[in-house]
């Protein structure tokens, strides 16, 4: 368990398989909220699903509609379990907060860096991030 260098933009607890995006993604035009699948044709992780995943990405790109798309995906249950970003992103933060207010969904968003090469299942709890024992192959944090 480590809380070094992580800061919660949106609090809450979540766990899920880590999905590391190698490039920033605009959720609008990049995520299909009906399916949770990445649809941006130019994105390296095209075709992968965000549903239930802890999504690690540098930052959100592009459209300001991404907050609506995140809230809609969370409403439909296709959204990610949480986000770990390199830097704060108010577009994702407001999407998560509004979905929580309307539907009670929890999608924590943290800023901080996971060790490179991390995989497996991870847990977010407020300011803390850790690999799930026995399930992940994440390097020791």
């Amino acid at each position: 368990m480590s809380d070094e260098g992580f800061r919660a933009l949106v609090g809450g607890s979540a766990s899920g398989e880590l999905l590391t995006l190698s490039a920033p993604l605009s959720l609008w035009g990049g995520l299909d909220p009906d399916t949770g699948i990445i649809i941006d044709r130019s994105h390296p992780e095209l075709g992968q699903t965000m549903t239930g995943a802890i999504v690690s990405m540098p930052f959100g790109r592009g459209s300001s509609s991404s907050s609506s798309v995140l809230a809609e995906a969370l409403r439909l249950g296709t959204g990610p379990a949480g986000f770990i970003l390199d830097r704060p992103d108010s577009i994702l933060v407001i999407g998560s907060l509004v979905a929580n207010r309307l539907y009670g969904t929890v999608c924590p968003i943290l800023v901080g860096r996971l060790p490179s090469g991390s995989t497996g299942r991870w847990v977010i709890d407020q300011n803390q991030v850790a690999p799930l024992p026995g399930c992940g192959s994440g390097p020791a944090v």
């Binding site: 920033p24 609008w28 035009g29 592009g62 509609s65 809609e72 409403r75 407001i94 999407g95 907060l97």
Partner: protein, 412 residues
Amino acid sequence: MQLTDKDRAMLAGRSGEAVRTAMELLIAVAESEEAPALLDISAAHIDGGLYHGEAGLDFARDLVEGGGRVVVPTTMNVSSLDLLHPDLYRGDPGRAKAARALMEAYVAMGCAPTWTCAPYQLAARPSLGDQIAWGESNAIVFANSVLGARTARYGDFLDVCCALTGRAPATGLHTDEGRRATLRIDVEVPDRMLDDDLFYPALGHALGEVGGAEVAVITGLDRRAGEDRLKALGAAAASSGAVAMFHVTGVTPEAPTVEAATQHMTPARQLGLGVSDLIRARESLNHGEGPLGAISVGTPHFSTRELENLGRMVAGKMSKVPFYVNTSRDILREVEPTGVIAAIEAFGATIVTDTCTYITPIMGDVDGRVMTDSAKWAFYAPGNLGVGVIFAGIEACVSSAVSGRVELGEGW
């Protein structure tokens, strides 16, 4: 975070439930950004009128029911429907009904029904130093870079929270420090390229890819980079990257010199962009194979000048493929008496207002690829519409329309 008495009163619900909700959300976001306080804004532009599903409508309706009224002049971004040409919509009628309800909810809160992604082309627009809260990525980058007004990247929901409270987090691009260029890009291309409209969106696409979310200062351009070209540059950069502001030395208002843009500090990164980088950027916007199926121009919405230019180019000609021109209802009203719209329609083109061809089902099944002069359209349409794209200049769009096949002409 430092709150004023007025902020606290809003938070306590003294201006009604909607304002309380807006203030709660605004403070949560401001705290996530470690903003020291909120500041007053003089205008807002709201992206939340484009329908993405029930969540957006549920939120807007909650605010209307909570008595929400905007307290600063507020314009609306594109919606999912063309209210002036409703027959253009080919999507699900249930979704159209919900999209209409969403538009009505924002108008009920006092927002102006402008329905344009280019609010900087409206008669009243912010000026140098104005603090504003704008949504829509291309409008944000234009406001900061070209107008010198100050806005962060406001996502859907947060934009209306700002409009209902008249407040925004005092951080990032709202501050002098946040507008400092940390990336210097020296453009080194033959002079004639600066005369080509297509150069600017290609440069913007490259800027977004290398710049990410940084503020860049660009050297090597000159006054030929007028508003329409800077619009295309910014829209491209805000699609391929998270670019919310750029400086162009000698052109944009906060960059008389490189030193002014960097605030006399050394940029963290410096790189050059040459012809081969721009060719790569241009070519990476092409997608798929196949013949010419349709043409779409006007993303962001065409300005008066762009419509007049197109009107001159198409006079006496006929398009052999479906040709769409996106613009705003305000520009349409302004230009219509000059006969330009009649000339464009006589060419066989369809004028689209209030929305855009890449965000809502207007084009139907396209038999082949779509040619566009917009890097933003080229960037998003393959994912949104499932179409192939040919990225080319407006001259190529017109000549290809006339011959019915892809004609790229001479170029770089």
